[in-house]
Amino acid sequence: MKKILITFLMLSGSWVIQAEDEIKIKITTDLPYLDVRHNGQIVRIMRTQDPEHRLTNSYAKTSRPCPPFCVHPIKLTDKVQTVGVLELLNFLDNQVKKGKGALIDARLPQWYEKGTIPGSVNIPFPILTAGTENPHTSRILKLLGGNKSKDGGWNFEKARELMLFCNGLWCGQSTRAIKALIKIGYPENKLFWYRGGMQDWQLLGLTTVIP
């Protein structure tokens, strides 16, 4: 009787483990996927499971005229941290999930509509570079946790941590957004830059969503 029970439990357990094992191309050894909220739904971020997969879209392109598509340095400023994919996933799983951070796709809407990182929100860089007198910029800053003081300045003590990205390390949209935020007074230690952007993300075959 015991043997039957043990066999049954082992089979049940192996069924659960098998579901995880079906993911052959994991993100890291310990991280096969990450579930995040996007547009009110749960989206699973994982890598394409086809080992023959190749990029054929615009991110397969290697050379664009510089200027304007020049390669950016690894560090934007001394205090803004440049991050990679794993730091971004950790940010989604912690700061964004707890409402303490926002992953910002700083590209223009026409780029965003082609596909973005699940869990991100689109704030096109011109809204941030428009200046605090612009009503839309002001609304965005308030949503990010900024408080406008009586003298017209902004206090970002309680503001969210922000991680920004755009198309890739040749793209200037996120850098312009970050520089605009710093100019407004957003604390640099609350800003993170995913320099690799969509090209880096797609090179790893990671999930994208079309909004």
Partner: protein, 101 residues
């Protein structure tokens, strides 16, 4: 065999119950920070019962938005700004045409 039959009936039942429990958990909102809209009576039978007022607008604005509320609010601003940009562009074009005429 008598026990085996009972076991085979019992185990699927446990699986179903676990499944139901998990799906109920998944239905819970991520961030239950929504404030009650109406005053909440603490104890109806107690004469000294106090009434807890619903939070003011200022208090509400201090409460963190859920992920979906935050994303929706950002989306709304972005759409408004796009709309404004389109309207401004149209106005500019109309002004240019009027000048040319």
């Amino acid at each position: 065999m008598k026990y085996l039959n009972k076991l085979l009936l019992f185990i699927p039942l446990v699986w179903v119950l676990i499944g139901c429990q998990q799906s109920e958990t998944e239905k819970q909102p991520d961030n239950q920070t929504e404030a009650p809209q109406q005053p909440v009576v603490v104890n109806e039978n107690d004469e000294s019962a106090s009434t807890v007022s619903a939070p003011s607008e200022d208090e509400k604005s201090d409460q963190p938005l859920s992920i979906d509320e935050f994303n929706d609010a950002i989306y709304e601003v972005v759409q408004d700004s796009i709309q404004d940009a389109v309207e401004n562009a149209v106005e500019d074009e109309v002004a240019k045409e009027e000048q040319q005429q």
